[in-house]
């Protein structure tokens, strides 16, 4: 009987995600630098200010805030001559917003349908997109940094070609391409 109760409890309680803080730290350090490696950045951003939104579900709000604190601490003076403004935004708020308010987005975990909607919303709009999870690139996002045997930068080739980006050639040497 106890085992049955235990199993029921196990499935009832299944709801949470524990992010890897070192991976978050690594991604936070690298993602803003990847943005400024685009030679056409100035044509996408007119006000010399990069608005980077950290997209979270409400349950991950504290992780969003943790990433924002990390980014603000790491780039207090901006990056590559650009001011970096970070904001934690709920996925639903972002999807409801009709305007293009973000220059870049950093996506934490979310359900597949939400990720598909976000990918569709930013498609072809020259928005730099970064994911926590490498597999989420396949929904239509541009960059992921992953810890494998060593730290690896992944680029979604399809997203790269569908936007007007022109990254510095050195980046292509360092990164690996994912072709959905």
């Amino acid at each position: 009987m106890r085992q049955i109760v235990l199993l029921v409890l196990l499935f009832c309680f299944a709801q949470a995600y524990e992010y890897n803080k070192l991976l978050l730290r690594t991604q936070s350090s690298l993602y803003p630098k990847l943005i400024v490696m685009d030679r056409k950045l100035s044509s996408h951003i007119n006000d010399r200010r990069i608005d980077l939104y950290i997209l979270v579900t409400s349950i991950d709000w504290l992780y969003g805030r943790y990433i924002k604190e990390q980014l603000d601490k790491l780039f207090p003076k901006g990056v590559g001559g650009y001011i970096l403004r970070t904001k934690v935004v709920n996925f639903s708020t972002f999807l409801a917003d009709k305007e293009k308010s973000a220059d870049a987005i950093y996506l934490l975990k979310a359900k597949e349908e939400i990720l598909e909607k976000v990918a569709k919303k930013i498609e072809g709009k020259n928005i730099y997109s970064f994911t926590y999870e490498k597999e989420d690139l396949l929904f239509g996002f541009l960059f992921n940094v992953s810890i494998e045997k060593e730290v690896v930068i992944y680029i979604n080739k399809r997203v790269l070609l569908r936007n007007d980006f022109e990254f510095m050639p050195e980046l292509y040497q360092m990164a690996r391409f994912i072709e959905p």
Partner: protein
Amino acid sequence: MVQRIAIVATVSLTLFANPLSESLKKDLQTFSHIADISKENEFFQPHIVSIYRGYELEKLGVQTLQDALWLVPGVDIYSNNLGAIYPVFRGSNPITFGQTKLFIDGVLVNNLFGDHYTQYMQMPIELIKRIEVVRGPGSKSEGVNAYAGSIYITTYAENFGEFECNKVFVKRGSQLFRGGGFYTNHHLGELKLYTEFYYQQDDKSVYSGPDMLYTGYLGEVNKPLAKAGEAPLWLKNYSFAMTMSLGGFKLQVRDNRYKHGMGFGVSYLLPPKNDYYLMPNRYMEMSYQKDLAKVWHLELKSGVRHDSLSMDTHYAPAGLVVPSPFDPDRIVVYKEGMYGFFQAKQSTIYAKAYLGYKGWSRHEVVFGARGSKERTYGVTTITTDKTGQSGQLVDYSESFPFLDPKAKRVSSIFFLSDTFEYSRDLTFYYGINLERNTQSDYIFNPRFSMVYQIDTANIFKASYAKSQRNPSWQELFTINNITKVGNPHLRPERVHALEASFIHRFGADDFVQASIFFLRNKNLIDNINLEHKYLNRKDQNLYGFELELSKMVDAYTKLYANYSFVDGRNSCGTPLANIAKHMAKGYLLRQLTPNLSVSLLARYVGDKHRFSFDTRKPLRGYTTCDLGLSYAFDNGLHLRFSAKNIFDATIKYPSPPYTYIEDYSAMKGRAFIFSMVWGL
């Protein structure tokens, strides 16, 4: 398109050296190095390893290192007659210590007397950043022979900016448990200073008995003296640690004072409540490391460790009748029982030199040596007059000590290894340890392993390793004791291990790992014989498998679970005793709001069969379940509540044959702990 990009990139790179790309390249190298140190790339390590992170364990209501080790696949927790807790890996000789090694921030902390680390099993989880548990002897600890497994604790002295620099915590719980501690990190230019402190105490006891006298081991005349009652398992423990680093220099100091109730009695006779053993463990290690000419890496280490065991106990009841230890034909009646104060002080001095070379393409060669001198420098034995002529205390430290006062061992280990990256996906690791010590001649222990990354999601590892466990002081040098008889002629236990593991990664943190192992143990040591003398008695084969899963069930749902199976036979053809063949463990978390989480943690440990000559029924398995609640305030304060063993399961550790008929109880029903943790 990709080809075009690559051509443009190559041409451009020859013309420009962009500071942005240089910065990016440097970051990639730095974080790859950090990932290597902090074992974030655990799946690519050349051994079978499970890694647990302190911040996640805290949320689960895990309180101590012991709680955390209970989660590891293939690891079971045992207790000896003093109530000293130790982990047993894959059923490897569960009736002796010394099977595993514990390293704290790279420092080996096993004490010399029992070659165990009981005094660290209650280390609060709030001070542990990461626990790496390597199963099997395949660990890459050059200069130390890992045997059944090794545990690497990393404290928050390692800080790459992903955690708070300071933390304070206080706790209250059942059986008058109270504790608290802190750690701080300070930087002054290049000088880094980490300090850590904790104190904890409780009034734990468990009902136990009747004790060994009931078995008639000391004669029918003593049988009525057998007692049952509360076995004292209370604890008073504090620890202070400091790590100071400047450039390549590092100084690590730790002082752990561990005082514990006498548990089930030094002679398996139930002791009074206030009897205790004291097991301080202090060490200081200095190290220096430097990269030379880009291809050489030099590391020098030296340290000293002092540990001792003191016991203050009434170890036999009033009226005990036994033969005189000086004249077996004469019977002595101890009218007021027997009291004893026993103390053995040990010291270990060691030094290690290590040189790494990366000058050959795709190779990383490491070689070096470790030397140590272990010795006893003080033995005190004060007991009730053993002649029975008076009830006075007599100092037998010179005439009848409980441990050889001249116990000593000098060891040297030479090691050589190479990591050969055959291709980006295939890496070989091979090496040898060559050890010699006072008790044994040169022993050659080779290791070989390979890690093959089939694709970005799948990894295969295989290894062969040979290793040894040197007998502990207790096994070698205990004298003048009727329940434990040391044997200075013991040979080291040996193991040949074959292991293979397949890992499938679902995502950044999700994986399934399946491992199989075969262990051939030789010269196993135990004292289960009529004389209670430690002997190299038998060989045995162990085999089994472990499954480990960490998976997001949906976008927010994480499940961690593992199952392990072990079986085997010893050289007499009899099945293995005191081992749970089946174990399953797992945990789940639910984040009710961004601030509030609930956790559920469960463990199943299967039945344990007895030795063939032990007529008791098998020890029944158990399932325990813990619940945890955690609330995080926006200012960094965390309030946590943990309920242990919510179904009030009976958890017992096996007692040796012919001692306590009933096994050792682990805890008294449910337990509750409330903690307040503030990270800054």
